[in-house]
Subunit: 494 residues, 3 copies
């Protein structure tokens, strides 16, 4: 066997290391690469390893329906006939991007937004637009209760005469904290000229930048970003399908999906056998390409069996497979109807999806019929490997957990309410933040950490996390700590 | 080189992706696959990738002694001559399974139990039967002290007039919490007919199902389950040998073996180099198949050196290599003699392996000679890579840690006892749960979380976990918190 | 294709599994292997898979400058012409090792120290010597404030009459706790004869052994160890470049670099795509060998672009790329000038790099010019993939986080100081440990856990860790708990 043959074999057998064979490139992209291969070699190499560098939209459109990764009906030339390079995205939709600037003879914008991606992926863009995550910025900052919670986390406290004095939170901290995942509002603050290897050049100055939050407000005004999951500049479906990607925002105790997944049997199989799976196949075939679900399998991907029958349609509106909102703020409840949750008001006039008693603000939430429909869609994925008895019982158990964790939140709410009523803490009725004193913070932990964690552990069958790690043990212990603390506060008052 | 040759090469070199070549199949299994390839494609594909689908018991029996995975002396036909398919396990031991039902012309049971596996793997079944884990259900629910602890974790608390009112824990929560790992009691509640793609069919209704706990009580009455580690339906030794499998139950702060392993040098080497190891070889050769131990290497697997000399015999009674019970309830102590720990009574009449002072309930625990024997078995594994000085000192350090952590538990026990004596908390002597008040819960954390974590960190050389993550820092801090809390309770009493 | 050819192909394509082709071996090493292949097969196999077993120093010296892994100008025979086997290291520098002993006809020492490694790797030894980590032992035990903190963590507390009585910490616990990572002082305590398979043999008895801490004091008096990162006996650059290695000491809440990395986009890409990276290449090419940085990429490795231009020079003085000391003890500050921080004294006379108010002990810390220089070196790595706007803003955000977390430490310091002043706790001024009471321990957590964690999350863009996991939420909540606790203590005093 000749060395050449051997070399070809190596390339063939180790696709991850293969030198990419780039497809036809636009002149503009060639111009970009001319400098950027030197100035930002990491980005260029990442793109060269990507599908975007090898397949033209036209070739993508020609695939059989189930294998298509582009959802546009039609992609006009010249865009269709070259691979998707730098210029194809960074010069799209001219006139719509306030962050556009003259750069090497081209009108380039920094922040590629969903409306750019939508030229080839319109259905995904549209679905994601209806997904809670695309509105994560506004859902936090336009809700005065949630914003107040964020402020009590992010503001610096000074110590005065036996009390603390919170300072207003600063923009940099917000961007480094909650808005890192929720998304910042990125605006053009101006332009700045600076020296480069190619002489002086002008660049836009962006506010709250960098940011890769899922609900980022882009300079062009669109909400949301595709790159938190389809990471630049490989935009790889493999990355998005691996749970590590979700973990960048879903590992903390408020929403510990990844930690629960890790200790679940599904996570165990992923960790043990992912080396034998194919994360790049479209559609994704159960038992062949993957043998246990990842986050994407249950919540996003197009799944089929080996016969090609569809098990689940692809949807970037994750809530299509989510009947409940497990992440209780402050109780768990049926999923909200609109991705924009800042419009919700409960009977008490608060911007919350439930009353403080746990009663759902029903007019803003999906009804039981819609819940049933979504549950069926989700269960269909379970049924590829589990019996209907197994599957049905699993979700009955989850419903029980939703009920019991909500009751444990109610008990904590009654304790903090007693503190407010008896004047040993100040809440909304006393025109103070309900989140800034110790007993209030323990109350927040009851629902934000322990009830949420217990529900995620139940939903994803990662019980080890839901008992002692951050679950029922703490739900129960926290109530006793709050109770003793209330008594100490009352004793002190006397 | 011809394309066919190339294809063969690919199959040969990437075994994980290889299309499985199934061996001779029974008619019954063929009938199962007829429908289930469509109705549960994930299970079928998983099995097709398994060793069970490729090797007949007879072929297994013919292997050289060290390479054998079946421990039966003899496996009769027809079982011996077909691969181990659906029907082979799900129709075994007819008449012994209350969950049997007529299904497509066969008498099928849902829950395959250790007595079914024992037809080919009798020694493993017998060993596991002597292993604490197989009794994890009864060891929890038949011990009134431990059960009370579980109840205080799992029951819903309501808030009444300045105090909390615990509700009785419900069955669903128990199954979703402690018993998820310990195992539920699965019984046939009845049968139900429902519509399927093949017309109406009758299925058994099982209590506390699904469950995959290590000490599950199966419908046929046998204790224990093989599938928590040898996951269905691949039953792969690779899965069982990877630490991810153990982590599904051993990651929480009560028994953080996996977290400690991760930060140990052994875990470091596993994480960095597992891609080059062979997890499927029997026997398992140190330095060749693996270069650092996983959980299975130290506690279960048959290990040899490259010359084929045995370093450790396989044992599914993990305690064969465990001198101490590190997981102190409430103190660490020599390993119990019987896997059924619910029979233990200390001098004070409590079902605990030590007195509340830490003194061991010696008659129920192994003696120093047996401890020495087990330690030698375990150390023999260390000695494949470490000097006897290194190895001996390591275990001396662990013994010191057992002593000091027990002393730190004693200090906490004295504080909570003072609270009971002075009437600011109610324990057993006051006919109340010793686990339901805040100061009592802090006491539980002292031994269940911090002392246990510190000991695991010491035993497995994962010191980073045993200092600030969940170890000595908290042991020391918790005593000070308990002390201050005791003073506050006393002040309040006045 | 012949079977032989196939076998060669397999070896060629799966290098990790390849049977190593050892190079020319010294007679002494052959003698070692004669017994140790049997007595410690794991070590021998590990070494056989290593580069040391295949490449002679002379061959290493002959490589092009950028590819060289040895930094010596010249390596004399006989050392240069044989592979680096057991004897080459364990008999080096005769006369300098108090742990030398006669063993099979050779004068062997147990603990190979940096001065041994320096024969081939002098620059790395010299750089590491200037690195804080090499002094981690003395920086802890020679600083009375830090040592007192360690003592309050490691000592056993007994419970007396309503108060706790700390016992002096024991040597075994220290070695199992802080000094596990910081390094113990290893000294020869004597020699012991014992029976072996080769008859009676004499071995040295070492104090505080085993230990693999980064700042270990070796029997030959040298500080530091190379093996915590370049793990015995593979000494693989692959191990050292993977973040798992760093995690063995940098995962706890005091310095959670690994946990932050895991949830960062860099960690996400590492976890998802490391299978396609080449961790063994020297130099390390961005975009080709790796597509996102690991710990080593940012802090140690020699990095180039595909054109061979140097992005970062290799340095084993990690602080060459570190302007700030993020791990605040008790505040974050500019990096110390000397690796030996036990020489630092602040204006108040305490061995701390800042005053208790946060003001830096400037004469012991690098100046702004040096900080700028180091920041530039670090940023050059970012710029391979990120724009200068992105990069600059990222570090501005970090500077803001350093400021705000220091302010949150100041608030906690004022609360604990108030407790000291008002006589409800005893600190340094009261001639007591400032770390042994509950309110003091909460103060420690403020800077050691929460402020540090928040800063690491900010520095490495792993925001999920810096909010609810162990970051700003706790910074804010802890101040409120300390405040309430102070009030309870004052109430109790009355």
């Amino acid at each position: 066997m000749k060395p050449l043959l051997l070399a070809i074999l190596v390339l063939f057998l180790l696709p991850g290391r293969a030198v990419p064979a780039e497809g036809p490139m636009s002149e503009a992209t060639e111009a970009c690469l001319g400098c950027h291969a030197l100035s930002t070699p990491g980005i260029v190499a990442d793109w060269k390893n990507s599908r975007h560098s090898r397949v033209t939209p036209k070739e993508g459109l020609a695939k059989p329906a189930l294998e298509r990764r582009v959802s546009a009906e039609k992609i006009d030339d010249p865009l269709g006939k070259t691979v998707v390079g730098c210029a194809e995205c960074h010069t799209l939709n001219p006139g719509k991007h306030p962050d556009s600037f003259e750069h090497g003879g081209y009108n380039v914008h920094v922040v590629v937004s969903p409306q750019d991606c939508a030229v080839c992926h319109p259905i995904e863009k549209q679905q994601y637009d209806q997904n809670l995550m695309s509105r994560a910025h506004g859902n936090l900052v336009k809700n005065p209760v949630y914003l107040n919670l964020a402020d009590t986390v992010n503001s610096v406290q000074k110590f005065g005469t036996m009390r603390t004095l919170p300072q207003p939170p600063d923009e940099q901290t917000n961007a480094d904290s909650c808005l890192f995942c929720h998304g910042t509002e990125v605006k053009v603050k101006g332009f700045r000229k600076r020296e480069t290897d190619q002489g002086p050049m002008k660049f836009p100055l962006l506010s709250n930048w960098p940011n890769q939050g899922v609900g980022r407000i882009n300079p062009d005004g669109t909400p949301g970003a595709c790159t938190p999951c389809h990471t630049r500049h490989g935009f790889s479906i493999e990355t998005a399908r691996k749970p590590y990607t979700c973990s960048t925002c879903h590992k903390g105790p408020d929403v510990p999906a990844y930690k629960v997944y890790e200790v679940s049997k599904h996570g165990n199989l992923f960790s043990s056998h992912q080396k034998d799976w194919d994360f790049n196949k479209v559609p994704w075939t159960v038992g062949k390409d993957y043998t246990a679900p990842t986050c994407a399998a249950c919540h996003v991907s197009l799944l089929v069996n080996e016969g090609g029958d569809i098990i689940a349609e692809r949807s970037h509106k994750m809530s299509d497979r989510l009947p409940w909102r497990l992440m209780g703020l402050i109780y768990s409840h049926p999923y909200p109807k609109s991705p924009d949750t800042s419009i919700i008001k409960n009977k008490a006039g608060l911007p919350l999806p439930t009353e403080l008693t746990g009663e759902p603000a029903a007019q803003h939430l999906i009804d039981s019929k819609e819940m049933e429909r979504r549950l069926k869609t989700l269960q269909n994925i379970c049924l590829a490997c589990h019996s209907s008895e197994w599957t049905g019982n699993h979700f009955k158990r989850l419903e029980n957990t939703i009920r019991t964790t909500n009751e444990m939140t109610l008990a904590a709410t009654k304790i903090v309410s007693t503190a407010w009523e008896k004047g040993v803490a100040k809440g909304l009725a006393q025109k103070d933040s309900p989140f800034n004193e110790y007993i209030e913070k323990k109350w927040v932990e009851q629902w934000l950490f322990y009830a949420n964690s217990t529900r995620f552990a139940s939903a994803m069958a990662g019980a080890d996390y839901g008992v002692f790690a951050e679950g029922r043990w703490y739900l129960s212990r926290n109530i006793q700590e709050m109770l003793d603390h209330l008594h100490f506060l009352l004793k002190q008052q006397r």
